[in-house]
């Protein structure tokens, strides 16, 4: 039954960035809120991330990046999301992403970006309020 399917969410770490404290906390908070969380582990290429999203049939992709490489990696990820027809998947992100880059990232189709100091309940609430159509 549609309504009984848990929300499936992929938490992904793109690039060489290996800061995982935040990603793991967010993954656990979402899991504690009742979602099915798949965590990619560190150092994923955009191809690997989108492939996993496809395989795992997720509703949402959450990108965590603290390395400053988002300007190169996010456009590639969003391009692949589009190419693979994952257009009904909601993508959002967090980490160290300068304020001035946010509009550019949103233009790529990234729904929201949460920086340091964000309470986890705010992230959970955002997910519930922004579930993509398919769920």
């Amino acid at each position: 039954m549609q309504s009984e399917r848990k929300i499936r969410i992929l938490i992904a770490k793109p690039g060489l960035d290996s800061h995982d404290r935040g990603a793991k906390i967010v993954a656990r908070a979402l899991r504690d809120a009742g979602m099915e969380v798949i965590y990619t582990g560190l150092r994923q290429t955009p191809e690997q991330i989108v492939e996993t999203a496809l395989q795992e049939d997720v509703d949402i992709i959450g990108l965590s990046i603290l390395s400053g490489a988002h300007k190169v990696l996010f456009p590639r990820i969003m391009e692949l999301v589009e190419q693979k027809g994952l257009t009904d998947v909601m993508v959002f992100a967090g980490g160290i992403i300068p304020e001035e880059d946010v509009p550019e990232m949103k233009k790529l189709g990234i729904k929201e970006i949460f920086g340091p100091g964000t309470p986890t309940e705010k992230i959970v609430q955002f997910v519930f309020e922004n579930l993509p159509e398919r769920t």
């Binding site: 404290r21 656990r28 150092r43 390395s67 490489a69 160290i96």
Partner: protein
Amino acid sequence: MSDKEKINQITRERERWENTTLPKWMGQRPERKSEFRNHSDTLIKRVYTPEDIKDLDYMRDLGLPGEYPFTRGVHATMYRGRLWTMRQFSGYGTAEQTNQRFKYLLKEGETGLSIAFDYPTIRGYDSDNPFSQGEVGTCGVAVASLKDMEVLFDGIPLDKVTTSMTVNGPAAMLLAMYIAVGDKQGVSREKLGGTTQNDVLKEFFAQKLIIFPPKPSIKLVTDIVEYCTKHMPRWNPISISGYHIREAGSNAVQELAFTLYDGITYVESCLERGMKVDEFAPRLSFFFASHNNLFEEVAKFRAARRIWAKVMKERFHAKNSRSMWMRMHVQTSGCTLTAQQPLNNITRTTIQALAAVLGGTQSLHTNSFDEALCLPTEDAVKVALRTQQIIAHESGSADTIDPLAGCYYIECLTNEMEGQAMDYIQRIDDMGGATVAIERGFFQKEIADSAYKYQGETDEKKRIIVGVNEYTTGEDAAIPILRIDPKVEEKQVAGLQKLRRERDNRKVDEVLEELHYAAEKDENLMPVIIEAVKAYATIGEMCGVLRKIYGEYKELIVI
């Protein structure tokens, strides 16, 4: 009155106070919380008295500075003789840019260098590897070959500074490059002073930048220790690091215990190699974080020295007292710094730096107020350095040795932390050691749980973070941030490709083949890596050879 009688008298007085004075105050002015706990979840008493340290034996537990068990410090004169080394972790963009930053910091009074390498370098990839795209120079300086290292130290005489290098998997390659720059400058290996982090164990569960599986990783660490013991008497071959453990989310006791356990594991590995404990142990060094709770941190540094001294004496039967001393570098805690109201970070860093100084560190990095936003700008790092200088010259903290010794609270906490850390050490021993604990995800789980708990306490406002979950009024003042020009990558890649065209490629092939054979035969790789570096073989080429032989570590995911 005997000591025992004195304590009994205090106990009686305290009980009287608890029944008479205290209840009146509790009625009028109740306590803010039902209980007070520090970061390690230790219950903090209302007030500490001589009762709490009644079993303290001064000479056994504290001793005198520069002597066993080194609780009071590793030197007999401490900061009265020489201040700690002020060493700011720095690196961004190209080697030229970081060379400028080094010179700027030295001019402003920094007394030691510390290199932050970019992701490709620490992961053993060349700047033009596909994995390096977007990452060149963004989180540290790009060093792909000896050419970059030469530029990095241009105009900086290696016999006049000491340098710390935050690198683990490819530590041997970066050390070899430093040696090669020394050779070019005419500074011999015996004169080179500094540190390679070279602590792979914590990479598996804290920093996560590991390249090779545990066994070859530890072999490489041991190669460096062996090489330095023979040829580089002023070099610290390992910096056994708790910093990353703490920053990944552990509490203070876990940081203490896991770090010391890593230290024990390296000592065992060197002994297995046939080295004598008193030959290499004096040059082992440590690296800790200094978090927000001033007293807990001071106690941690003191407990660390005492435990290490005992471990070296009792577990490893060291004879030379220098094998028992724990020298340390401290970095203030980055994860306590906030993106909100960033100027508040200056205050946090000051308190944390003070804890490190009161705790007797040998070397210190203070974070910049833009920590949660970007790599430090020149202005921000200057304030961070000035913070150390103010503590050193204006606060009076450096005038006497171990000023908090004898404080009931500090001594009690020092004892408690030692006990709690020893319990963990026993547990890990019982499990079969650090590698087993890593394979079982023990450290990973402990750290992840503590990190999640800390986040939960912050979210629920059980833990107040000024400017984040309380006192959040007003717009945050925007501060300038450091941005890495994407042209850095183009420039670096062009330079590397030029190097590949111009160097003697036959020679490079030869040394890489030698490296391959030496690795297969399980020889000490340092000599051949020095040869390879001098032929301008790149980080990616050298690590590529080792990746083929050793394989790559696949992360054990523990959420």
